[in-house]
């Protein structure tokens, strides 16, 4: 009896998978494939009450949550606001280009910066529950499905107790807020800066998280993202051609372990932009394709690969051919969109302010429409709160309303837009991807 229901489940999964990958072409192709019982029987999860059973039709953002404020309980100073290359966090030196719009935060910290006229400028810390709560409230208000909580493997090792405590606390805040506002949430490990050993450590941390937070408890965390009947876990940073200290093989082993015998989790891989043709930013190794075929979703890293002018030419062919490849190989595909790019302060280079201009949302919408018209069904927005590289979509101070920065400057949201414009525009993308009519290549008018 038990076995039969098992088989039924497996059959169901197969049907769903097939329907998913083909649905954009013909929804009627639901002939059940002949099921060869797999050697290892898949783990089955109770998804009763789960709100996000697939990444399909979702628009989710990345959530850094890496900032800390001097005076918060994290004891990490102005972590990630500050810039170690010029002496910390003070006028003339910062890691951030944008300045958060602080008007709605209830808990704030006086920063070393002042506005013209001498008023002090304040900042938030995601270590505080209230601030993360506000971010998830915004997601709900503007119709953004949720976020991927970034976990930097280099920062959560036992040798970095404060780092680990920080990311766990931010995750805890986020899980709470996600449930409260019914926003999708998912863990994304970032392998940047890892060694081979660190990659292996990821599994340990992942197991720890499950114990700590009961991540897969459908009652406790009904908004944790599931995909293909499994909780989704994302690993970012494999196949990049920038001399990393870990290999595709390391990640391959990791995936084997994480999935385990019962294919315990669905895995989304963050891969370089030219992953399919193995050129430019991508390691020229066919191993990457073998690994991708074993995972469930890929998300190519598009930040900095094009601007508004070059987008169609660069992304057009890649998107369509990527999706074709993924359909053939039964892997789901999530393109990345980003509002613009600016890291003048981080790089201490005035030429890098607004190096990829936002153009009042034209650039973001061009990518949203490009992805949708090319057949994408979900989006990854980089990022919700990334102000070091200036890709944040959350509320930031506008041009003309920024603190002073000695010989440097802060970059603002265009002064004729509201500070919530990019949240709103991302929300419009959400409506389109949820299936609402009336959207197209033309940027919606607010």
């Amino acid at each position: 009896m038990k076995k039969i229901s098992w088989l039924f489940f497996i059959w169901m999964i197969c049907v769903v998978t097939t329907a998913c990958s083909k649905s954009q072409k013909n929804g009627d192709d639901t002939t059940p494939p002949t099921v060869n019982p797999p050697v290892n029987e898949d783990v089955v999860y109770d998804e009763t009450g789960c709100l996000y059973k697939s990444y399909k039709n979702l628009v989710m953002a990345g959530y850094q949550g890496w900032f800390a404020a001097a005076g918060d309980a994290s004891e990490r100073g102005w972590y990630h606001y500050q810039n170690g290359n010029c002496g910390g966090f003070l006028p003339g030196c910062s890691a951030v280009d944008f300045w958060p719009d602080m008007s709605e935060y209830t808990k704030k910290y006086k920063s070393p910066f002042q506005f013209p006229g001498g008023t002090d400028a304040y900042l938030y810390s995601p270590y505080d529950e209230e601030s993360v709560d506000l971010h998830f409230k915004w997601m709900k208000d503007y119709g953004i499905d949720g976020v991927f909580m970034q976990r930097f493997v280099g920062e959560i090792k036992s040798s970095n107790a404060k780092g680990k405590r920080h990311f766990n606390k931010v995750l805890e805040n986020a899980l709470k807020a996600a449930e409260k506002y019914q926003r999708a949430i998912c863990v994304m490990y970032d392998l940047s800066g890892c060694t081979s050993e660190d990659v292996a450590y990821l599994e340990e941390d992942w197991n720890e998280l499950q114990t700590l937070f009961s991540l897969f408890d459908n009652k406790k965390h009904p908004t944790y993202v599931r995909h293909k009947g499994k909780p989704l876990l994302s690993i970012w940073g494999v196949g990049f051609n920038d001399n990393r200290k870990y290999t595709i093989a390391n990640v391959d082993q990791l995936v084997t372990k994480l999935k385990g015998k019962g294919n315990k989790v669905s895995i989304m891989l963050g891969v370089p932009y030219y992953w399919r043709s193995l050129k430019n930013d991508t390691e020229n190794s066919a191993q990457l394709h073998a690994l991708i075929k074993r995972t469930d979703i890929i998300m190519p890293w598009a930040v900095g690969r094009y601007d508004n002018n070059s987008y169609s030419n660069v992304a057009g062919g890649e998107l369509a051919a990527d999706i074709q490849w993924c359909n053939t190989n039964k892997v789901d595909y999530v393109p990345l969109v980003f509002p613009g790019f600016s890291w003048g302060n981080l790089k201490n280079d005035v030429a890098a302010y607004n190096s990829i201009p936002r153009l009042k949302g034209d650039f973001l919408w061009k990518q949203v429409a490009g992805a949708r018209l090319s057949g994408a069904q979900s989006l990854y927005v980089a990022m919700f709160d990334e102000i070091d590289e200036g890709t944040a979509i959350y509320k930031c101070a506008r041009e003309g309303e920024l603190p002073l920065h000695a010989d440097k400057k802060f970059v603002g949201i265009e002064s004729d837009l509201a500070s919530d414009y990019y949240l709103w525009l991302t929300g419009q993308a959400g409506r389109w991807f949820h299936g609402e009519a009336g959207f197209g290549a033309t940027k919606p008018v607010r």
Partner: protein
């Protein structure tokens, strides 16, 4: 004297046979042929005979990874009947369709390999007619990628393999924008203004093409028509 001749011949023969032995391999007996087919319409995808889609093949078992190139005929078929039987990695490159992966193919005897691909652009509802002193082409475009359409063109040549790279006269419009699927595009060649090249009283081939703005993409076409001008 005769003896000398005899010796000379014998030596020559011996030398000749020696060298023959060293070079005594079979000629190429295998081949690869096939078609490029539109995954949706199942029609052949028209190509250029020069500077068009290429199929790169790399024969396994050699250190060199330098590919050999097979060209594709204008009608979208290809054939190379003089290959050595072996395993090859086969990759269509620089095409007018969404790139497809390499595949490893055992080429034995005359092997067939079709490619089912998505053309960048489908040129549809084509009409090319002579109207007064002009040749007028009308057509619609359906593009399968979001890239701009770089240009559309009406090309004329005395050879049936006419196309963008091979034309005597071209009438082109640089669109540099996405195409409008409902729009009827019109291109004209003024025969009077090209009387030096398209000589009255002769027959010429005319073909319309549309080029997507993507990397090394090649134009998409419909078959050429022959007109008496």
């Amino acid at each position: 004297m005769n003896k000398l001749k005899y010796i000379f011949f014998a030596t020559a023969l011996a030398l000749g046979m020696t060298s023959c032995e060293k070079d005594n391999y079979d000629g190429p007996t295998a081949g690869l042929s096939g078609r490029f087919v539109d995954v949706k319409t199942k029609e052949l995808i028209e190509q250029d005979i020069i500077l068009g889609t290429t199929i790169e093949i790399i024969e396994h078992g050699y250190a060199s990874r330098t590919p050999q190139a097979l060209i594709v005929k204008t009608d979208g078929t290809y054939a190379n009947t003089m290959l050595f039987a072996n395993t090859y990695t086969v990759t269509p490159v620089r095409g007018n369709f969404l790139p497809v992966d390499s595949q490893v193919v055992d080429i034995k005897g005359q092997t067939t390999l079709d490619f089912s691909v998505t053309p960048y652009i489908r040129v549809q509802d084509v009409s090319i007619v002579k109207s007064g002193t002009k040749v007028v082409a009308t057509f619609k475009l359906e593009q399968n990628v979001i890239n701009n359409v770089k240009k559309i063109g009406l090309y004329a040549h005395s050879d049936a393999r006419v196309g963008e790279p091979m034309r005597l006269v071209a009438s082109e419009i640089n669109l540099n924008a996405p195409s409008d699927p409902t729009h009827v595009y019109t291109l004209e060649i003024d025969l009077a203004a090209n009387s030096n090249t398209l000589k009255p009283g002769n027959k010429y081939y005319f073909r319309v093409g549309a080029l997507i703005d993507a990397g090394e993409a090649k134009p998409n076409y419909r078959p050429a028509v022959r007109l008496d001008i």
